[in-house]
Subunit: 357 residues, 2 copies
């Protein structure tokens, strides 16, 4: 039985995301390149996996380790930069003023995209294009401003605290998860000591799948949600549904339509049903899910998040709330500089019951 070897995945979801490859003994390490991504060079899971990978590489390729590693990290600071300098490991920069969740259009996202063959020039020019469009102070012509304002007003004036993003497109599915990190970590904040906390809760969904999972709640549950659909105009594959079983009521009506048409009709039907029930929703139309439009979408949502931060009156670029958990982790692992956290941890009441199933 091979054991698990972890591989760091410079995913578009930012730092700390990991993919474990089972039976990685099957990997030919002599031909492998590992990309280690951490802005600070201190993310515990990422660094732990780097150490595991590094030890394996040393066994496999000896002194050649630096030819099998690439780092994506801060241009000046942190452990990865220091190691890169000492060992001449190629290291790409994350601009110091760009935090993890905004880093998809830096080498954090662009390097893996390039390695998969994506047209990264189109990705970045799409992003630049929408950034330009979102400079105007005329709200109705500023898509990011419009989106941010609608969500902010829905939350603060109409009690719509939960913001659903629901692409009707398999290639754009993970945009929703990416948005969840962006919206949650940027806007979930307390403003002053004693403030109970503000910020909408983002929720990822996928059409048509989640019509059978979450739409019941969106339709009949509390009126505390907005739903934003993403629709792709162009059908990627024009696949016609064959005219079979035409005598069967549940099947006959489908024949002659296309699969992409069915998906689009289901989106319109779901949006219409929500509207009929008084549930606010909007649809973001995207021509096609190519590199340029990915760039448009990423930058559109990043700028919308910054605008929303301004509307909520918080700093959308920090994440002070995750620090305590990190400090407790350092304390339990015995990191030298975690003495204060260790005292706080030891004083914390521990559960006296254990919920085991």
């Amino acid at each position: 039985m091979g054991d698990d070897v972890p591989k760091n995945c410079s995913s578009h979801l930012g730092c700390g995301k990991t993919v474990f490859v089972r039976d990685a003994d099957r990997l030919d390490l002599g031909r492998a390149l590992f990309i280690v991504t951490s802005k600070s060079g201190g993310t515990a899971e990422t660094m732990a996996q780097y150490l595991v990978v590094r030890a394996r590489l040393q066994n496999a390729v000896g002194n050649d380790v630096s030819r099998h590693l690439a780092f994506v990290t801060d241009p000046e600071k942190g452990a990865l930069r220091t190691i890169a300098r000492a060992e001449k490991i190629p290291a790409l920069d994350i601009p110091p003023n760009v935090g993890g969740r905004y880093s998809v259009l830096t080498p954090v996202g662009v390097l893996p995209a390039a390695l998969t063959g994506m047209d990264t020039a189109a990705l970045l020019s799409g992003a630049a294009e929408i950034a330009k469009r979102c400079e105007t102070s005329e709200l109705s012509k500023n898509p990011a401003g419009t989106f941010a304002m609608l969500q902010f007003l829905a939350d603060t004036k109409l009690g719509r605290h939960i913001h659903v993003l629901m692409p009707y497109s398999d290639p754009l599915r993970d945009i929703a998860d990416w948005f969840v990190q962006l919206w949650a970590e940027s806007l979930g904040k307390h403003r002053t000591t004693g403030d109970p906390g503000i910020g909408p809760t983002p929720l990822a969904a996928l059409g048509a799948t989640d019509q059978h999972s979450k739409v019941q709640l969106f339709m009949e549950g509390p009126p505390d949600k907005t739903v934003s659909f993403i629709s792709v105009d162009e059908e990627l594959v024009k696949l016609e549904i064959p005219k079979l079983h035409s005598d069967v009521k549940e099947l006959g009506y489908l024949g002659g339509h296309r699969l992409g048409e069915l998906l689009d009709i289901e989106r319109r039907a779901t949006a219409g049903a929500l509207a009929r029930r008084g549930r606010p929703n909007l649809t973001i139309h995207v021509e096609r899910p190519d590199a340029r439009h990915l760039g448009l979408l990423f930058m559109f949502l990043e700028i919308a998040t910054i605008y929303a931060g301004e509307l909520y009156g918080i700093n959308p670029l920090d994440q002070p709330g995750v620090e305590l958990g990190k400090q407790f982790t350092y304390a339990m692992l015995g990191r030298a500089d975690a003495e204060q956290a260790r005292r706080e941890w030891n004083m914390l009441p521990k559960p006296d019951a254990r919920f085991t199933i």
Copy 2:
């Protein structure tokens, strides 16, 4: 360029979930078995994909089609049962009184589990075991009752409307998505005409990944959430983090610990940090992620959902809110029996602006 061939996936997420296989021309259809799962035999996406697959099979194997299909459907009713009878296609039963989201322990989930080699006897006996334990009316000894009561009280008495399920275990990751369907579709209801709607909103998360995504919001956002962690006691793989870079502060403290230990410490640190901030959370402990414990988890959460339905005073077994969207879909596709929905659809105000990026 091969086009997309859809394959129906009898996933544990119930009906309507689909997996599209790119370049399915690579599939050797003569050796393929397609499992078509729909309780009603009427789910539009599933049926559309069945028709596409069937046409391909007919091209490839001619009259032998029925040897390459298996259905999972209602024992008596619906189009799939009718076709199975007429063409002698093997068809397994979904018990009439078990709805889609509760069907994972019927052939809907058990057939694919068996095909992947899972010990399905252990799966079902785990489920039976916890069902027995959840029969007692002594609340503190009834885990499903306890879970349901805690979440219900947190929602209705303390304004904790959002219920997060966050496994710290890659093999159990998708349990959270499965729970989202179960909790959302079962409890998101309106009770009477004019009722604005009730029901908590479930949110799936994954440890440690989402420490870098959602935990900022859980820590500092509005006090409207409960977090339920799932912890696996036994380390699947005891992989030690090598002692490398011991002179580097951000890395040195990790060496000698195990990856599984790090994950567990991060969970405890996150739970402790949430508690320190007054954010209610609990941890469900599971010995190991094997078939028996999967059965325990599925049945535990299903029974908890039924109990919660009783507490909320709604029917946790129906989903009337999804009907209108289905009817609008039938209307647009021209299904014969959708005349009334067509009139309602035509009267619905349509958006006069288009939000394109």
